[in-house]
Amino acid sequence: MSPEREHEEIESLLGAFVLGATEAEEEEMVRAHLPGCASCTATVRRLERAVGAIPFAVEAVTPPRRLREQILAAAAASRPPARAMPQRTRVLRLPTPRLARIWTGAGVRSAVAAAAIIAFALGLGLGAGIGRSVSPPPPSSAAVAEYALHGSGTMAVAQGHAFELKQQGLTLVEFSGMPALEAGKVYELWLIPQQGDPVPAAVFKPDAEGSRVVVLARNLRGVKALAVTAEAGPNGATAPTEQPQLVGTVG
């Protein structure tokens, strides 16, 4: 086949090519041709734009609520290598090995969803599991422990659920019903050891719905209880300044 004839043949295939509607050998032929043909490359670029627009004509369909939870759980479970953190989402820096991260409200809009995220990630069985294609092998339920935090006093409606991911060395604490904070205050999560003083674990502010999820880069070994107080922001206190009104025992 002459070069001219080959060009014509390939040029006629470009529409089908950008739609993925050619046979495999034809696709290979086009791909081999493009680097040396500016005309066909420009055409492909133009037609690809048109193809890229087609999906936007489709009617959006609200997926089941669980899909959002599954995706976020799978993403959390996949834990891509740490890269430079975004300026607006700083990891809470605590003495090694304590590392806490706030899962902001925008990402986990409902407290139930937040709990489900970790439940999904760990195969706790709350709803459907992570999708078949992307989930890592779920750890055994023995690798996960759940603890509840109960509110009292001014935090009577507040609740917390802690999921300790023993194998991953992570603990997620999901808060809901948290009262709005006074100006300049933050909530501070404390780990109460079997012996010794309360250890600060994270500070956080609830979202407008009173929810927040905090992830601690540690397990709860040696921890007797979890507790929350309101402290001066933005950094909280190094020791609690009030009696906690949201508390849960561990173990």
Binding site: A16, L19, L47, I71, A75, P86, A106, G131, G196, Q243
Partner: protein, 220 residues
């Protein structure tokens, strides 16, 4: 294992007892964040950015997968795969060169077609996140405009498709949503191969021309 604790400490705990804390309250990536900003945040493994991206495009992605597969459960799997693929490869996303949502929708479509046609991932034509340039950010970066702009784009694309002659529209829809090759479309339509190739090419050229006229992309 679960239960409320009794009071766990005395308020006399010594201040600064053995630890220093260096942390700050986190601010949030707001719902008004543009796709470019989301892309950058995703590249830093910001799970909130993924949640925002899902909130913005999850329904469209699901709609595409559902239209192609007709099976809600399979559609969920496909959408999840696409979002996780994006999450795991977001560090390669070059916001200046591509459109995150275009990549996402193409990923959903290609995966759904592969599922439909029983093709494996090794056969999938999938471009990198750094080379996508279809429908580049015409969506304004401020939240109030996102929905409006998305609706305008949707209407423009629908109008562009609706204006196509029936045979051209059928050809690209069989390829795009059905995953048929042009040879199969020729058999279905009972027309010569060259006719199908021509219909597809004309349809795409018309779509591009119409949408370019609507200002959906700036480059020629």
């Amino acid at each position: 294992m679960i239960g409320a604790a009794s009071p766990v400490w005395q308020l006399t705990a010594p201040p600064g007892a053995g630890f220093r804390i260096e942390h700050a309250v986190l601010t949030r990536l707001g719902p008004g964040a543009g796709d470019t900003e989301l892309g950058r945040a995703l590249a830093t493994a910001d799970i909130d950015a993924l949640a925002l991206l899902y909130d913005r495009y999850g329904a469209l992605a699901y709609g595409i997968a559902l239209r192609i597969l007709g099976d809600p459960r399979l559609a969920e799997d496909i959408v999840q795969e696409a979002f996780i693929k994006l999450w795991n490869n977001a560090s390669t996303f070059d916001a200046s060169r591509g459109s995150l949502r275009t990549w996402l929708m193409a990923s959903v479509r290609n995966r759904a077609i592969d599922q439909l046609r029983g093709r494996g991932a090794h056969e999938r034509r999938e471009v990198g996140l750094d080379v996508v340039d279809a429908l580049p950010s015409t969506v304004p970066e401020s939240d109030p405009w996102v929905a409006v702009s998305a609706a305008m784009e949707r209407d423009a694309v629908r109008e562009a498709v609706a204006r196509l002659p029936v045979d051209q529209k059928q050809a690209i829809e069989l390829a795009f949503y059905g995953g048929y090759t042009y040879r199969e479309i020729a058999e279905i339509s009972r027309v010569p191969l060259s006719t199908v190739k021509g219909r597809i090419r004309l349809a795409l050229e018309k779509l591009h021309s119409y949408l370019e006229g609507k200002g959906l992309w700036n480059e020629p």
